[in-house]
Amino acid sequence: MKTQKLKYDGTFEGLLTAIFTVYEERLSSAHIIEERFFEPDFFSELIMVFTDENKASRVWEGLKDFQQFRTSVYRSFLSELPDKEVHILDAIQYVLKTKSDKDYGHPSVLKLAQITKQIGREKHRMEAFVRFKRTKDDIYAAIIEPDFNILPLIVKHFKNRYADQQFVIYDKSRSYGIFYDLNTVQFVELDFDDTVLKEALHDEEMHYDEMWQDYFISTGIKSRINKKLHLRHVPKRYWKYLNEKNPL
């Protein structure tokens, strides 16, 4: 029997619509693929998925008894891993069939839990490693290059924390950012990089930058030095935007 390839637009609603389609059409060997990775072949049947909020929300509603699992599904979607749709579909089918979302003996349920953990770790790292620089316009700006697409997950944290300051966090690898204007947070696409930021800096920025580097050094204890542990906590790939490791 032919496999069915479901092509969707790469949005979360699109993915949920595809899953709805699998149930609606009773597809037995469905393979959901994002548009931009789709390659036609002779051995499978192509099904175009048109994102439908109604269908998407019915799938989402169907999972309402499994809150933790829902988070897992959404975070796995943000992971951008190539096989994520396969595991998400497989796990959802298993959870809906067995009515239990914590059986980590099932490979896809386990896989989703593992991805979720990775994403959670990256989210937490970004909450820690974002370094704002104050600009002349009094906007606090930061650039990040996270391993996963975690910007949507950190909005709430930063909005609560910096309620009284305008800020931008720009994901350079995905070319978009979040901007808080003292009222709401918006997703923005803008032309932004280190050079643009450097030119816009507030005069006092250099001083705080230096003081933070000083502090980083003077708070360490030389007789206890442990570089291996240091690197485990602050992996090198994050150093680029940490001013204590990489001064202005």
Partner: protein, 420 residues
């Protein structure tokens, strides 16, 4: 603002504050409800790590390192010839706010040398916290040091602005304190602890009746002990830790391996290695007491006044109590699972969850991510194979040591090696 001068002060006063190990920024519940700055309702965040691998989450500084006391273990002691400096209250406030706005820190940890009198010093610390809360509308984390010997009224006020209060007992035994800090009285440490404990109890009782009772030190209080400065045993240290946990409802007791900073005949010589492995074993013991249901007398007693250096305290306990093993992971209760060497509470919970669905065998245990290298000698599961095969404890210990690699190995193997 004179940035050069502030920078200089920051270097001196951060350097003097770094021996305080607490960096916790969690456990508070101060939400940003008024569109102010900061929120400490979530979990703690480590914004960076020092090159010795300790977390940096708070701006940890002294208000001043001028001190009227001459405690032998302290780098800021009166007789030590070092650069002295002092921050103005507004300078600390500005630094905290500006570091916080850049997402460098979770808040402030402010301590101080004692100048003129304990009360005078404590007032200055409180003034910083008060300014941050009331003038800057700051909801980040504030950890204030309680100054030994300060008055109850000030401790009451401190808790209204701080999330955590701490006072470092430093020397675990009263006799040790007499030796190293003869001017300090043990009672001066106890009084503020007692006051904070009572205020927290009072706050919790009042809150049930009146919802808007002002919050008092929501992240509780903690203390710290120096390890390896006065020849105390592990039993001395842990028994007094237990005393502080139970009598003063401490959130945390920290153990800090003594870093020789001063030449003094009462202390280990300069250049003596920091007892990091011992410190690590004490923390492991602390965890066993707080999260694994152990009683301190099981781990340390007159027969075993010191912890083993080459193996962790749980394994050491298990080897002394082989009659309780092997444990059947499919049947044992949570308390007993938690006692299996090599299993952390995360693994215990994974097992409890996984065994609802099927009887677990070795493969299942591996698949859910249980570390086996120590545990396999102490458990049976849904499989005929059993690793222990009635080994003697000493034999088992050597097998475990051979199959595992400790990052501390070089420390306890030292005496066996003749040449490097």
């Amino acid at each position: 603002m004179n940035f050069e001068r502030i920078r200089e002060k920051l270097n001196i006063l951060a350097d003097a504050a770094k021996y305080d190990v607490s960096c916790s920024s969690s456990g508070s519940n101060r939400k940003n409800t008024t569109k102010g700055l900061g929120d400490s309702s979530g979990i703690g965040i480590c914004h960076s790590y020092t090159e010795d691998g300790r977390c940096i989450s708070l701006l940890k500084i002294l208000l001043t390192n001028h001190c009227i006391f001459d405690c032998a273990y302290c780098v800021s002691r009166k007789s030590n010839d070092i650069k002295r400096a002092g921050f103005k209250i507004q300078e600390v406030v500005d630094l905290t706010i500006n570091f916080y706005r850049r997402n460098y820190i979770e808040g402030l940890f402010l301590s101080s040398g004692i100048f003129s009198s304990p009360d005078y010093t404590m007032e200055r610390l409180i003034a910083v916290a008060k300014k941050l809360r009331l003038e800057e509308n700051f909801n980040g984390y504030i950890h204030l040091k309680s100054i030994p010997g300060c008055s109850d009224e000030l401790m009451r006020e401190a808790g209204l602005y701080a999330d955590r209060l701490s006072i470092n007992i430093e020397i675990p035994t009263v006799s040790g304190l007499k030796l190293l800090a003869p001017e300090k009285d043990h009672k001066d440490f106890i009084k503020p602890m007692e006051k904070v404990k009572n205020e927290i109890i009072q706050y919790q009782a009042d809150k049930k009746l009146i919802k808007n009772t002002p919050v008092y030190a929501p992240a509780g209080q903690s203390t710290q002990m120096i390890v390896g400065a006065t020849g105390e045993s592990d039993k001395d240290i842990m028994y007094s830790a237990v005393h502080y946990y139970s009598t003063y409802k401490m959130k945390r007791v920290y153990y800090s391996g003594y870093v020789p900073v001063l030449q003094d005949e009462r202390l280990p010589a300069l250049g003596t290695e920091v007892p990091m492995l011992r410190e690590n074993r004490l923390y492991q013991t602390d965890w066993l007491l707080r999260f694994y249901g152990f009683d301190v007398r099981e781990l340390l007693n007159n027969q075993h006044p010191n912890l083993d250096v080459d193996i962790d305290p749980k394994l050491s306990w298990a080897l002394r109590n082989m009659h309780l093993f092997p444990v059947d992971v499919n049947k044992a209760d949570k308390r007993m699972l938690a006692r299996i060497p090599g299993l952390g509470m995360l693994s215990v919970n994974k097992i409890l969850n996984a065994r609802k669905y099927r009887k677990l065998n070795w493969e299942n245990l591996k698949a859910i991510g249980i570390a086996m290298n120590r545990a396999k000698y102490f458990i049976v599961c849904d499989s005929k194979d059993w690793e222990r095969k009635d080994l003697e404890p000493a034999h088992m210990k050597s097998m475990i040591l051979q199959s595992s690699q400790s990052k501390y190995q070089k420390m306890y193997n030292k005496q066996l090696r003749l040449f490097n």
